[in-house]
Every structure is written in structure tokens, then in C-alpha cells.
Symmetry: D2
Amino acid sequence: MEIKSTEIKVRYAETDQMGVVHHAVYPIWFEACRTDFMEQLGYPYSRIEEEGFMTPLIKLDVNYKSGAKYGDTVLVDAKITELGLIKFTFSYTVKRKSDGALLATGSTTLACCDKNLKIINLKTACPEVYAKLEAQLEK
Amino acid sequence: MEIKSTEIKVRYAETDQMGVVHHAVYPIWFEACRTDFMEQLGYPYSRIEEEGFMTPLIKLDVNYKSGAKYGDTVLVDAKITELGLIKFTFSYTVKRKSDGALLATGSTTLACCDKNLKIINLKTACPEVYAKLEAQLEK
Amino acid sequence: MEIKSTEIKVRYAETDQMGVVHHAVYPIWFEACRTDFMEQLGYPYSRIEEEGFMTPLIKLDVNYKSGAKYGDTVLVDAKITELGLIKFTFSYTVKRKSDGALLATGSTTLACCDKNLKIINLKTACPEVYAKLEAQLEK
Amino acid sequence: MEIKSTEIKVRYAETDQMGVVHHAVYPIWFEACRTDFMEQLGYPYSRIEEEGFMTPLIKLDVNYKSGAKYGDTVLVDAKITELGLIKFTFSYTVKRKSDGALLATGSTTLACCDKNLKIINLKTACPEVYAKLEAQLEK
């Protein structure tokens, strides 16, 4: 299944006094992209939470190539690059829409947890989500 | 009881490309000040929530006088200026520590709610908090 | 000229532990709406800044009616409700897209400034922007 | 020279609906710690910028161990772990103050740039900063 990019217009509040988007905004864009990704898979993250599961981050990394600016629209793309029983990893690219310039890459590893943030086995606890993620796993 | 100022060092992430602190940061500083205020009253806000109460904002206003900058430390002061059975109002000033310059004033009105965000009577549901707020009410 | 709503999908990062969008997010949504508004008027805010003008907030107020939640999409609408020579006011509504429920109203008053944040006369310094705002002024 | 921890009280706005501090807040805490670090070295970051230099992030990573909560105070510690001519790396720990529990570790690599965000040689452009960082470099 082809997943569409998440399109984000830079917010003024996201800039800092260097005149570019502050680096702590990129993980928030990654997250907005994950939200869209799960929605496109037909299993919105809000439903996952309603069913009593949570997926807190256990690892984040970002490589910054060039600064996004106010006035820019960016395209964020995600792929599932690792899938385990208790954690899984999304990898991202952030590109400027106007010229396709690569602004950042990154990844987030999420744990599968219950409501009390105890680790659980995603495959047995939430087999439908596991199957959907598996079908998207990059070969 | 004399309530001490909340001292806040401006964070780089709080600036925007105008080179000053973004206006949406001030409500967050007000909130940090409320946290300190309730702690000084001997009833931390985290305890209020543990007991099943919430105090969402129903009204916010801010008047911006001069921009805080990265490198500044600010002093935020709060007073209880209105106290009703189901809502109460804090008023704030934000001053630059180095020279006492007034940067902003504002107020927030908070509702008294249960866990499901239904309005409740603070005086009967949480008499100790009500009494503490009342003792601080500006005459 | 009919100005279209700004459509915003709630970000997970925008929620707080009350389970609703944090109140300090609304001014950021207002600002995203202003960005779209000026773009639709044919004078993007980024161009205003490139020409050496800035419009810092001097006043903000928000009335919160009901909490936006993760999973919601909101529609933010702006109108010019006051226009002076050195300042102007936008008024906003925030509605939940799914059912039209009113979540918040508010307004922001912006000053007209040069690069050094000194007040200027918008009508003489930037007559095209002034004319465009005037044409949108609510009667 | 012994550098002191940066002490940060969790802000309500920093929590999300999982009931813990949102993961995108940690890079902001790292940055607040860098601010304190440079100040303690006697060369505040605001002075570096006044002199025409900028240090945008080129790399960020965070490992999350346990969630910080509203009500917690955290201690953030930084060390210089790599120092090159055009970039340098800080490594961090975030601990809960009350019990010393490790909440997160991470690192940020910063580039040395001029005002236009062009890479420069820190050692020649800003020898005093380079020397101060070198003196702190972990062996």
C-alpha cells in the first residue's frame, strides 16, 4: 500500500531567532506523519489508545541537513524499517515541497505498552496492528 | 502569606524569528507560575489532580508591553483577583529581572472540574483549596 | 472576498495530561490561520517581513468553550474586526470539523512595526496591506 | 572546571495525554542545559550570537528510559564528548531529582556557522570558545 506524504506548512511559532525552524519541531512533524500513516493504514492511533495501548518513544534520532523556513511547506514521509514483537521503528524524510530539497532525516523507535506503560507483545495483544505494520515493512 | 516570584530563564526554543520570545510562551510561563503559587500555598497542583480535580482554562488574556529576549531572566508574579464557587482568576505580571521592566500582564480564569471535565463547586468539593485561595484573594 | 477556514489536525504533542489540547496551543492555531488569511489576500506574511515590517502581538484573548482532542480536526476562521493606523485586530473562532461544535473564540491585536520593533504607520508605510485589510474589515 | 546540573521543574504544558512529558521536550531541556553550560564556562551563548556566530544542530539523538511527570524536577547534565574544527558534540543525562532515576540520555552535534549559516572553523574564528570547550572535553 502506497502511503502519502504528510504536508505541513511551517508555523511562525516553530521558528527561532536563527530564522529557521527550531530543531525540536522535527520530532513533532514525525509524529504528525505517524498519525497520518496509521490513519492511511486504516487503524488510527487514537483507536489504538482507545483500545488501551500506548506507544511511547524509546529512541529518537534526527539528522539536520538544511533549515526549514517560515513560508515553506514541507513533505514528511515515513516508512516502517524495523518491526519486533515489543518495538518498531519508523524512518522519516523531511523535504521542502517547492524544490524537493532534503531538510532532515530521522527515525523513532516506539515500544508497545499497556495503559500503565508496561511493555507488552504487540503481535499477540494487537495482531491487526502488527499485521498492518508488517505489510508495510521495508524489505 | 507572601508568595515569591517564579524565576524563568528564557529558552532558545521560546524565541521566534522576530528575535523575541513568541507570544504563545507567556501562557506557559503563567502556568509555571501557578504551579509555584499552589506549591507555596502548600497544595501542589499535582495533588489537586491526584484527588480527582482539574482546572481547565476558560479564559486567557495577555497584554504584551515589550519582548523578552534570549539571555533574559524573567520574574512572573501571580495574584488571585477573583474567586467564585466554580471558577477563579489569577492575574500576572512578567518583568525582566535585570532592570524590572514590565514585559507583559495577563490573567487566566480557571474552572473547577471533576475528572471528566464537568463543572463542580470548588468550595464544597475541595474546601481546603478554596480556603487557601480565599486567604490570598486581593482586597 | 471570501476567506477559507484553516483546517488543522490536532497533533499528539499538543495534548496535555488532561487529555485535551493545551490552552497555549490556540494562539498558535490563530497564527496559522492569520498566515493563511494573508496568503489568501495575496500578501503573504513572509513577504511583509521581507519588506522589513513586523507585526508583534500587543494583545491576546481566548475564551475556551470545549476541549479539542487528539483525533479531532479543527477549523479556524479569522476576521478583521478593527483596523487602525498602527494596529489591527483579528477575531477568531475554532470549531470541531466533525460536528461544528464551537471550541474557542479569541482575538489578537497586532502592532505595525519596523525591523527594530518600533511602531510605524501601516497606512503610509505599507498602503497595499492596509487597503487589503480594510477591504476585509467587518462592518 | 566542574559544571553544575541544570535543574528544571516539569511544566504542565510539557505533558501529553499519556500523562508523561512529551518526547519532543527533551531536546529543549538539552538546549537549556547547554545555555547554562556555556554561561558557567564564562561565554554565554547569547554572546556567541552577538559576535556573529551560530551553532545549529546537525544531529540529535535521545534514548528514553522512563517518563518524567508533572510534579517532577529533573536534573540535566552535559559533557563535551567530541570537539572538531567545525562541529562539536554534547552528551546529556536527564535524571529525576527526587530519586536520581535516569529518565533519558542523548546527544546533540552542533555545527559552527556564521550569521548566514555557512560552516566556519571554530578554532580560528572563535579561539576563546574553542579553548573553553577543549578544556571541558571528556578524556
